[in-house]
Symmetry: C2
Subunit: 233 residues, 2 copies
């Protein structure tokens, strides 16, 4: 008994690779994105009244995690537990899960017809660019908001832990791009074991590569909690 | 480009038909249910750590709405607008939507092995019994709770509007069953146009049939906002 679904559209975001994507947006509610609706779902009637909602749920497919989840692995290592502890996949929001369904809360920005397409603009995006979208639902605060819910090992929003500077030799960037790089890198996207002082002492000049839009961004992390962007190509 | 999913389990609830199901649980956080996990998803490891979360998201398929949505209808009539106004399906939580994906917030109760099955017990259920479950995710309050979100035409939780009494001739019922009938009927599950005084004046003795578990419940509504359960079979 399988269920066959058809993506209703495709999500576009600054994140052209998984490395660096803030988990559950990590409070970065300004990160812009848009969904291009596939016909027949591009009919604006399907969105009548959506501008009366401030927030939307995006139900999507973690399309880059499908291959790794062909056989069922019940345990995953949540990144926020430092990669040491294993948790049940259904006690996590990991992308490595049966059916690879993702759920993302975003802010509604606007919906428009542009270049013959219907685009739903959103912000607070934490999905890979190119993500297939399965559904869009309005956020209903009285039902969906449970501020006192107890959330196990995911009690607090990830905090910015690195202060970010830029090498003076870099090509000029827009303010939006500078802000985006600063926000994403400040959350320290490195794997947990790279964040340990021992690792850092052994690899002081390691350059981490982050891809945002079409830019390859290289940054280093200094041992005093500072990150420096060295290259942008 | 289609996406093929496999249900991970099946949800069991008191609701054996659509009529009467409180939308978004309508605050009825005690309505009990459980999910029976299908192998291999019945491995308890997949749920390790889930008891540290008070609330869960259930991603499911509105399996009884699939036929009616074979062709795309962008507009629906939200019941809470009295059936008069049309809204975009993506501005609604209607079951008549592309891909028929439902999203329900429930409380975690417990997980257990019983009769060779793994059962995840939950409460605050608003799904039909027999619903195919596609995913289970922990509720992460810092990300999922937006108490100040603006929710268009769905600003307030549906309120109980009928006071419910029981005919003295009924067979004895458990306290749980009496509470369940009272809660569900008090929300007035009748179609909006049946709730108008004109309609009620023309059909004063109309018996509404509600199915909960294996019981057929017949109730009438009197013109002073009182409902009376007449039959339970």
């Amino acid at each position: 008994m399988s269920v066959e679904l058809t993506p209703i559209g495709s999500l576009h975001s600054p994140f052209s690779q998984k490395f660096g994507i803030p988990r559950q947006s990590a409070g970065l509610t300004d990160i812009p994105g848009y969904i291009t609706l596939t016909p027949p779902y591009d009919d604006l009637n399907g969105f009548r009244g959506i501008d009366a909602f401030s927030h939307l749920w995006i139900v999507f497919q973690f399309h880059q995690s499908i291959e790794q989840t062909q056989s069922y692995s019940p345990l995953i290592r949540p990144p926020r537990l430092g990669g040491n502890d294993k948790m049940g996949v259904f006690a996590s929001r990991s992308s490595f899960r049966p059916n690879n369904i993702g759920l993302s809360l975003v802010k509604f920005v606007k919906i428009e017809r542009v270049l013959g397409q219907t685009r739903l603009h959103i912000s607070g995006v934490d999905c890979l660019s190119g993500t297939p979208v399965l559904d869009i639902k309005p956020y209903v605060a009285y039902a969906d908001s449970q501020p006192n819910a107890v959330s196990g090992y995911a009690k607090e929003q990830p905090q910015a832990t690195l202060s970010v500077t830029f090498s003076p030799d870099l090509p000029a960037q827009t303010e939006e791009m500078l802000a985006l790089m600063t926000q994403v890198i400040s959350l320290d996207p490195r794997p947990a074991y790279h964040q340990r002082p021992e690792y850092q002492a052994l690899h002081p000049d390691k350059i981490y590569q982050l891809r945002l839009y079409d830019f390859e961004i290289g940054f280093i992390v200094e041992d005093n909690g500072k990150a420096k962007v060295m290259t942008i190509n």
